[in-house]
């Protein structure tokens, strides 16, 4: 099933409203870019370290936040080193790392369901022209479909493995897309059959 990247805890950051965390995150990122100075960056990194401490997270979690971008970060570091100097390369790369860690901090301390509830609460106050029921339905449907399509993908992969062509991306994608489209009509019908709108 789908699991989010949330790491359980009871810290002040865990308890803070998602909207506040998002606002702080945007403030933090804007500050780092507007005041482009190493003193500001130092302060920013300190704040982040403090944040991870308060939330009871480990250095491993901070590293996990940066790791997917490692390849790009190394290239950027090398490019800066070549274009400018070591100080500039370090500054630019560290600033990106600070951003990645700050954003991950919000994700680590907020459940996906808190965000979903927040979105639904926002929607309930949204203007009339917005099809809020449909947006809410679409979000639940994706939750429901991901495991279903994952299972279908495994079936297709098995069938193609039996035929010896599992390395072909086309052989995996084409049957999967056709299956997905075939089910779309019946799912839509079933939803209509069960609801009265």
């Amino acid at each position: 099933m789908l699991s989010d990247l949330y790491i359980p805890g009871a810290s002040a950051l865990h308890r803070m409203r998602p909207a506040w965390k998002l606002a702080l995150l945007f403030l933090y990122c804007t500050a780092l870019f507007v005041v482009s100075h190493s003193l500001m960056l130092g302060l920013g990194l300190l704040l982040i370290a403090l944040g991870y401490g308060i939330a009871g997270l480990r250095p491993r979690h901070a590293f996990d936040a940066v790791r997917p971008a490692l390849y790009v970060l190394v290239i950027i570091f090398a490019a800066q080193l070549w274009l400018e100097d070591l100080a500039m390369a370090a500054f630019v790369t560290l600033r990106l790392i600070a951003l990645l860690m700050a954003a991950a901090l919000v994700t680590y301390t907020t459940k996906a369901s808190e965000f979903t509830d927040g979105i639904l609460a926002l929607l309930s106050r949204a203007p009339k022209w917005l099809p809020k029921d449909k947006i809410a339905l679409a979000i639940s449907l994706v939750w429901r479909f991901i495991p279903m399509i994952r299972d279908q993908f495994e079936e297709v992969r098995e069938a193609q493995r039996a035929r010896g062509i599992e390395r072909s991306l086309l052989a995996l994608v084409a049957p999967l897309v056709v299956r997905v489209l075939k089910s779309a009509d019946e799912i839509a019908e079933a939803i209509e059959a069960r609801s009265l709108d």
């Binding site: 099933m1 789908l2 339905l137 639940s140 449907l141 939750w143 429901r144 495991p147 279903m148 299972d151 089910s183 019946e186 799912i187 019908e189 079933a190 939803i191 209509e192 059959a193 069960r194 609801s195 009265l196 709108d197």
Partner: protein, 223 residues
């Protein structure tokens, strides 16, 4: 339920022509080959398919067939909308503007009736095929339909699950209309409609219609 000269055409193709029927039996089976129009016929019952001409009425129901007729599909995977069983059961009720307490009572009741209370908090995608079909049926029963139509509900079930499904069907108080290729299952029904070429080819008790249908298919298969 009364069908009066019902026709359905899609583009220039005529799917069903001039069907007139009066349906009062409690268990009605529908048989026919693939492409005979039986699926379209079934969709007429709850308004998923609107007749091109003709009318479908039922006493005391008014125009809104969907409020009174529940639909169970062949593949429960395509019928279950929400990731969790309980949420899914609430789905059809939300659009009926019922109170939270009423929704809860109905869900409890239906889980009890089908003896699947243990599935309440399960994730729908982790259920077995038989459990999924029960949840799909529960999702329809919570809306308390006056009639339930089934589109090949046992095709994807194994034998134990099929037998369980048949028990459950026998206990259902509502009348039911079912399309099925399972002739054995339909033998216990009150009335069978054989649809072919967009019309009702034969109409009668199972012992009248089913053997003739089997012979006809056999003869055709042998050319």
């Amino acid at each position: 339920m009364i069908f009066d000269r019902v026709c359905v055409t899609k583009g220039s193709r005529r799917i069903l022509s001039e069907i007139s029927l009066s349906l009062t039996e409690k268990r009605i089976g529908v048989i026919g080959e693939n492409g005979s129009g039986k699926s379209t016929f079934l969709r007429l019952f709850n308004g998923l398919q609107k007749p091109t001409s003709g009318t479908i009425r039922a006493e005391g129901w008014g125009d809104d067939l969907r409020r009174h007729v529940g639909f169970v599909f062949q593949n429960p995977d395509n019928q279950i909308v929400y990731p969790m069983v309980e949420e899914d059961l609430a789905f059809g009720l939300k659009s009926r503007k019922l109170s939270k307490a009423e929704i809860q009572t109905r869900i409890d009741e239906v889980l009890e009736t089908l003896s699947i209370a243990h599935l309440r908090a399960r994730l729908t995608h982790q259920l077995s095929g038989g459990e999924k079909q029960m949840v799909a049926l529960a999702g329809v029963l919570v809306t308390r339909p006056d009639l339930i139509v089934f589109d090949e509900p046992t095709t994807l079930l194994d034998l134990p699950n099929k037998l369980r499904f048949m028990d459950m069907l026998a206990a259902l108080p509502q009348p039911a209309v079912m399309v099925s290729h399972d002739l054995e299952l339909l033998m216990g029904f009150d009335r069978i409609l054989h649809i072919e070429g967009g019309t009702v080819f034969a109409d009668g008790t199972p012992s009248e219609v089913i053997p003739a249908y089997r012979d006809r298919c056999l003869a055709r298969a042998k050319g």
